[in-house]
Amino acid sequence: MEELQDLSLGGTREVLWNAPSIFHEHFASLFDYVFLGLPFVLFTIWGLTIVYPLWRWYRIVRVGAPEDRFDRLDVRLQRALFEGFGQGRVVREPAGIVHQVLFVSFLILFLGTALITVEADTKLNFYYGSFYAIYKLMMDLAGVGLVVTSCVFLYRRYVAPPRALVQPGKMLDNFENEAGYGFPLVMLFLIGFTGFLLEAARMVADPRSSDGLAFVGIAFASVFRAMGTGEATHYWIWIVHLAIVLTFLYSLTATKLRHMFIAPANLFFKKLDQGHRATPIADFENAETFGVEKVEEYSWKQLLDMAACLECGRCTLNCPTVNTNKALNPKHLVIEQREHLLAKHGISFLQAQLARFTRDPALDGDGEATAAANGATNGVAVDGEAGALAAADMINDVATQPVIWGCTTCGWCEEGCPVGIEHIQRIVDMRRNTVLMRAEFPADLARSFKGTENQSNPWGLAADGRADWAEGLDVPQMAELGEDEKVDVLYWVGCAGSFDERNQKTSRAFVKIMKAAGLKFGILGLEESCTGEPARRLGNEYLYFTLASMNVETLNRYKFDTIVTQCPHCFNTIKNEYPDLGGRFDVVHTTQFIEGLLGSGKIKLEKDFLQKRLVMHDPCYLGRHNNVHEAPRAVLDAIPGMVREDVDASRRRTFCCGAGGGQFWKEEEHGTPRINETRLGQLLEAKPDTVAVACPFCTTMISDAAKARGLEETLPVKDVVEIVADSLA
């Protein structure tokens, strides 16, 4: 046997010592290495087994509707690198740290092994001496990392799974689901473990080899030495270790481990929008169908989302519906939609031929017709459970109405998802279909839709009362000022600030602040109408489109520096969604605006808060969706005598009050406790004397929860604007 390296340098070992001779071929050139012999065969098999599942998913994803996700490639690439390979989002939760250790360990072992290939098959000679010693230490450390983390994950998946890991009931009966997470994790464990055994067996059987700093190998070797093992033991461990490694490598993309390819891809294609923006319906005026009724009507990116889900359940951690036992579980929804997609379009070429061959010819016509009607890829109807899942009505059978209508669009699921899955649009697309095409939705919504249509506010209150809150405050309406007069601030009051008695107080407080700052401002008054935000979240894109177009036109008529609004929903829509309709305005939230006034010294906060404890509730549409966390806090902290506390679920981890996504306008879906009461419970952990909010709907929801607990007298729930106005000199 020819030696592959120069052993005379010392402090090394012979590569491929005692391996079967077929692995010991020596190649004359790189060409021979790549195209001849055993490595070629192994690589070819590997290529096919790896590529086929990916190619299959590529074909499935291509079924989806077109969507451009190839803009700003530099930003996308950066995200794929940092959040994908770098796992920037994975490490946000404790289990993610374990995942990172596993990933790094695996990477070290992979690169280390590759390095030996370089040593053995090239003229380079570096595998000796102190390099060898440290290399051994690194590899052993990585091995320990692999063994320990795979055990932690096996424990977490199968012994004591947290609620996030609970799987949905309906899962397809296929290799990937059968293998689950156990198979790849056991494989990872065995790779590490047999690696140590192999190392130890070699130390015992080949006296020429150096131990380096392989501390685990040395420990195992003492056991082998005591057992008196020899070359045969090493030989067989070598073969077993290789078999495990190959099985693992060949199964990479057929099991859940496929995520190592699809997750970075999905992050690459994730939407780049800042703030929350619903995807507009293309060519709204001429479209014939609206929203998504069948799974293939989703865009290819939305199907890629389904492929990318690794079922970690982080979307559920702070989900308002999962945490209050409602029907909607974003993880279960995306998995069930994926299984539906697979049942419908995932039939492989081989399966298709087999099904054609075995099917009773008399049934063939019917079967194919049904399959074609369902839009199945290979024109083959599947029998049994998978067939039923393929034929299921996606909205009513796969998703179901309580699931579709449960979502508050708070955005936690997308914030928490480490692989960039976009949940909200998928749900809103289904709502669009059921509202616009079928006119089916929870009964309460008809009143708010009609109210918005007729009186331009979801309460349906008389539109001519929109400016009544300002009576006696001398608040000019833009129409009175005229189109040529420019104001500093166009105050967008919003429906809640205009019509809801509780929130009218906030509007009046804000007028007090603007007057104290000596600003020239105006309201649209009777010309203001609902931004269309609730209608849009509820899938009534037609109503949104009508209202939003009208508002953009009205706003474009007037001259102002900036729009200020106390409603984060109005804020988000004007800021992030009106540009699609030609409305580009400078818009800030009241808390941001007040922060500016404090900064420029236009107002001073002097009245003492008397060391009372205050806790801040972050509205989803201000905080999570638009990343405004610090402005309300800075404003509150400017008040003398303020003792401000934060709870764990704050800022990006805030928990929804239950009003968003149009929930305010319908009954909460079935399941207890109520979302707002759950949220109040979290806020009470800070033992507050006051709850500060920065959204009219949060104000109402948290106040209601306080009432339900009998705290309405003792726990004031106040908008930051009101607290500031109270503190004015």
């Binding site: 609206f290 095409m437 006119a439 008809a446 009609k450 007729n454 539109a463 009777l526």
Partner: protein, 251 residues
């Protein structure tokens, strides 16, 4: 089965109504108009009857200015098959409206005329009854439940009467007027709205019907209710009793 559904254009019930200073009517600037809610319920029930039978026609009628097209289109979007607008300069009083409808019934020969029990603007509650009299057709007013006979030749109607329910039946053709609790009208789907744009909306000048626009009953004047006075808080029961005695003169 062919059903004729007359609908009236009225101000949205949520609107604050202001009376013109001269008392000749209401201020209509900035007022949003809708299908009279009772008419909408009648239309919804007619659509349900048609859908249950899987055949038939629902024909809308409105009487008024061209602006009534808006409400007719809404009705078409909900699912009515076609619409007729009898064009007049202003609203007709219930008796004249019934005369117009009687003419249309003669032309269209529907099996059923389904009206709202009253319009929320003038609250007259007469048109259905007058039409029944003019046609000499049976009628059931204030319907809270409508069941068409299996032979499609008769109808059983449950009526909301003071303190209870009354069930009546008659052979078609006939007249039904709807009450509030009959159903919850649907929301038009977007394809429905699109389709409505292409559905037939025939305009018929009032003169063609041969009915006079001259009202049988003249509206002399309308006036708003007196403004509500703000309430007052009293400290003790004794004070309340005293005030009720001395100021309100109730006791």
């Amino acid at each position: 089965m062919k059903i004729l559904v007359p609908i009236k254009r009225v101000p949205d019930p949520q609107t604050n109504i202001a009376v013109r200073p001269d008392g000749t009517g209401i201020v209509t600037d900035n007022v949003k108009f809708v299908i009279n809610p009772f008419c909408e319920i009648a239309l919804e029930e007619s659509l349900r009857i048609k859908e249950a039978q899987g055949e038939g026609e629902v024909v809308l009628v409105s009487i008024g200015g061209k602006e009534c097209q808006e409400q007719l289109r809404t009705g078409l979007a909900m699912g009515a098959d076609r619409a007729i607008l009898v064009v007049t300069d202003g609203p007709l009083d219930p008796a004249r409206a019934a005369e117009v409808l009687a003419k249309l019934v003669a032309q269209e020969s529907p099996n059923l005329v389904f009206l709202g029990k009253q319009a929320i603007d003038d609250d007259a509650n007469q048109t259905g009854q007058l039409l029944a009299a003019m046609l000499d057709w049976p009628q059931a007013t204030f319907a809270s439940k409508v069941v068409i006979g299996d032979d499609k030749k008769s109808v059983t109607v449950t009526r909301e009467v003071d303190g209870g329910l009354e069930t009546v039946a008659f052979d078609l053709p006939g007249i039904i007027t709807s009450d509030l609790r009959l159903n919850e009208p649907r929301y038009a789907s977007l394809p429905g709205i699109m389709k409505a744009r292409k559905k037939e909306l025939k305009e018929v000048p009032l003169a063609e019907t041969g009915v006079s626009a001259e009202p049988k009953v003249k509206q002399v004047k309308i006036e708003p209710p007196p403004k509500r006075q703000g309430g007052r808080k009293v400290e003790t029961v004794q004070e309340l009793v005293n005030l009720l005695h001395t100021e309100a003169k109730l006791i």
